[in-house]
Symmetry: D2
Subunit: 307 residues, 4 copies
Amino acid sequence: MLNSKWFLEQTTDHEGSFHSLEEIIYAGNTRYQHIEIVRIGSYGKCLVIDGKIQSSEVDEFIYHEALVHPTMLLADSCNKILIAGGGEGAVAREVLKHPSVSDVTIVDLDEIAVALSKQYLLQWHRGAFQDSRVRIFHEDARKFIERHTSKFDVIIVDLPEPSDGGPAFLLYTKEFYDSVYNCLNEGGAMVTQATSASVNNLKVFAAIVNTVKEAFPYVNPYVVNIPSFFAPWGFVLSSKKRDILSLSRQYIEDTLDRLTGELRFYDYETHQGMFSLPKYLRNALKQEDFVIKDSSPISFYPSLNRK
Amino acid sequence: MLNSKWFLEQTTDHEGSFHSLEEIIYAGNTRYQHIEIVRIGSYGKCLVIDGKIQSSEVDEFIYHEALVHPTMLLADSCNKILIAGGGEGAVAREVLKHPSVSDVTIVDLDEIAVALSKQYLLQWHRGAFQDSRVRIFHEDARKFIERHTSKFDVIIVDLPEPSDGGPAFLLYTKEFYDSVYNCLNEGGAMVTQATSASVNNLKVFAAIVNTVKEAFPYVNPYVVNIPSFFAPWGFVLSSKKRDILSLSRQYIEDTLDRLTGELRFYDYETHQGMFSLPKYLRNALKQEDFVIKDSSPISFYPSLNRK
Amino acid sequence: MLNSKWFLEQTTDHEGSFHSLEEIIYAGNTRYQHIEIVRIGSYGKCLVIDGKIQSSEVDEFIYHEALVHPTMLLADSCNKILIAGGGEGAVAREVLKHPSVSDVTIVDLDEIAVALSKQYLLQWHRGAFQDSRVRIFHEDARKFIERHTSKFDVIIVDLPEPSDGGPAFLLYTKEFYDSVYNCLNEGGAMVTQATSASVNNLKVFAAIVNTVKEAFPYVNPYVVNIPSFFAPWGFVLSSKKRDILSLSRQYIEDTLDRLTGELRFYDYETHQGMFSLPKYLRNALKQEDFVIKDSSPISFYPSLNRK
Amino acid sequence: MLNSKWFLEQTTDHEGSFHSLEEIIYAGNTRYQHIEIVRIGSYGKCLVIDGKIQSSEVDEFIYHEALVHPTMLLADSCNKILIAGGGEGAVAREVLKHPSVSDVTIVDLDEIAVALSKQYLLQWHRGAFQDSRVRIFHEDARKFIERHTSKFDVIIVDLPEPSDGGPAFLLYTKEFYDSVYNCLNEGGAMVTQATSASVNNLKVFAAIVNTVKEAFPYVNPYVVNIPSFFAPWGFVLSSKKRDILSLSRQYIEDTLDRLTGELRFYDYETHQGMFSLPKYLRNALKQEDFVIKDSSPISFYPSLNRK
């Protein structure tokens, strides 16, 4: 440890990671969260919220391509897209690669976080905020969805992990997913990031999968390794109408061919890998029966968020 | 960080992980390496060599099943098996689940490490050392292979990462793989662990893949997430005779059905996931042209192994 | 940081120390506190309570000699001694070097902590618990003092820092010192450890000094560097009858000559150093006007003791 | 450890300190050393050289007053002063408070370090570099002294700890002190910082004391607690003509009264404390017989400076 300056991320009471810290670009509190933008030796520029790396310059393309494209392929049509969270603009950036998109609504609570992203995270949004199809609202995504009357083709949930006292605590509950269902068109699809899928820390992921199943007929959990998250990471994809495994290779490759802008992570082979879960994980998902409700929410950081 | 006692593993000059440290079961130097057996909060009992977690109670099944079974499926026959390294006995444990195995030769340099494993790592070997089919030699695996005249069906290379000054520095070179090739029967197969496949640290993995291709006609890199390694982890599978992708689902499932002893990680769907690499990784592998040679070896810990 | 196993002590929200961790001798919770006995590279065996090093093999002689002997010199007579806390037995060990001592009463709340000390901390007590002059009670020291009717010559307060929720929170208040005063003979003296005297962390020390002055006519703060505490450390000495500075060199040296057992830290020159405070510290003490009361207690770890 | 950004200073293979890191003001290499200027939670702005905190905004006054004033009091006259090292300008700042000073020569090898100090460390120099009495040379202090023909009244050695490969490795040897002796007027005095005086790390301090005694007839070691150094810190004062203990209180107080600029740390009582060493330390100094020579130098960081 000849280096002196370190960034530490404690992910559970028992483990975490450390990174050489090269630059503190920004650090400050908004009304909702503590935001840091730092440059670390292994991952370059990073957005950090409440001490957790949200995405890094080096591997944000993995996270954002993995989050966005499967659900865009799964939905019947991709005109009107809702992004819950996603204030760095990278989800919108990926969404806008689909030529059919006419309307992107970003609902991110934290106006300051979005302003900081605009200023410091150019690689993330790359002009997405300037695209005339994009509108942004600063309010609670759940309230927005509950009161929204017209419907979306795709809803992408890109929020921090559920955490007692955190802004996304009740955005992983059955009630929330019911609202999402109601806010989707008939051929609509939803995806949410769904916390760690690590063998010793997969309880919350399993509970989210199980909860989404209460609200949607077709649910596909998938796993992608995001190096800066230091864990295999879970996602949950759901649809009103079909299973992702019903999509043919031909359809997937043709659709991706028509995108404006290249993908670095996602293609058919990658897709196959993401949706092929290891046996122990499939077994854990099968056994899970906990349903997350407003009255019994779940926290990914049970003890760390004591403040 | 209310806890006071921590285990730190620095994996590069720029990053590492930390774990609550619950018990120091053993710590000492052998002639070849510094060995620690510790209990950490997130992964239970761990074997640590030269400061790197080699495997943990919680997820060693992932690593060992991933390492062993694909190559056992790929080889024409599985009678005589050579394990280079593997002194904890877990590779042998998995090998012995294949009923055709008649002969397992473990060549692990470090007799003390093996003795410590026998005493402290029961979950790893679970009786494998007592199996009458197993013989163990304490010498350099490369020298053993170079001078061995009869041939093996399968060679499994389970060694530490190549590191300047470390015992496995020259066991990832073209010359070594040539010797392995010569020591295999016509339908034989080899597998080696092959370091990190993380997007920002995949140079050594890519070089190993490229080097094995110099020695073998059929080479399949694959990637598995091992949580205690804090990275997607690379493996390289090779065969004299066929590609792993030529194996049918039927054949794989039938063979696994005949195993004595259950698998928790590996099955056909897992297999599919392991061999479906993400696009950026396939591109990186395609572009790699470095061949590791005795005269130009490669180190996974370029600066950390300064002593 | 080639070493992997570390002991971390966070002393404030902003700083702390780390030590190579060689052995975890004991770790467990009692009813009152979390106790660890560890061996660290720089200080040998250490007693750790609630994550704070209480004393180390290498420098406990400094702390214990500094705590005990000035007050023993200051009191008119040294027959009956009360130790509040001090369950490792090292305070008693030092007290018993004074030949006039006939009676040592240790009041330490935590019976398990004392039992652990007896078993593991031989260097600390060195037979003190077996001395026929020593009696030990396991109860709250404040309650003991409040209800005790006969008087002591010397009271030595060797307790953890005051901390919200900790067992010694109300043993640094004016009300407590009033009880101590009432429990002392006319020529009696008291000493208490009094937390850090570091230039950037001396508020609690200053408040204790100021509070003791509310209860006693003669008060002498002093400072000793205890390396394992990573700070200059404050103590407060008080007497009903005289100032420590009135003691002559002759008297001090003669008294120390008569001790049974050698001192390694304390002699006249050391004494002079301890009671010669740096200018900025004297100024800070002069300006302090906060009186710690049961109704307005003070915590040395304002945010760290959140549990 | 809710904070994410930390500054770590490892002081030996076995221990170190950590601090919340608030701002990285500067980080870069000069030809001679790695320089960082950071803001940490506990000590404010700090100058860090090769990973070691050199001085902090909060307590630099302690270090610099302790280094400068005793030697200024001890010398027969204080006209021509040489500072070896001291590129932050704080030694010069203190020296200039003595009204008799006519000439201050700073010899600091590292021009970039001095330029950085001028720009970032205003609190340290406070105009000292602009004072017409001050001249600065960028060369090796030892070579400067060896070749200098006229003499100084006071030489103040403010260099990093001796370290194999570091710039000050041979500025703590008998040969160096002989040169210093020869470069001083008859009533001249020298002081040097002399590394840790901690009970478990005082070998280098003791060796420096012993070595200075080979060159000077009057030598007074002294110890001051510098909180940001996390240890009691040793200094060695020496004179051609008299012992510091021969100075009367009256003389000391009168001299300090005539200073231009107030002192916060140093006065007569502080002085008494600094020169009253604890018994164990006096004993360790008595027993030391190692003489540091060019042919047998000593390193304060024996293993950490491996690069």
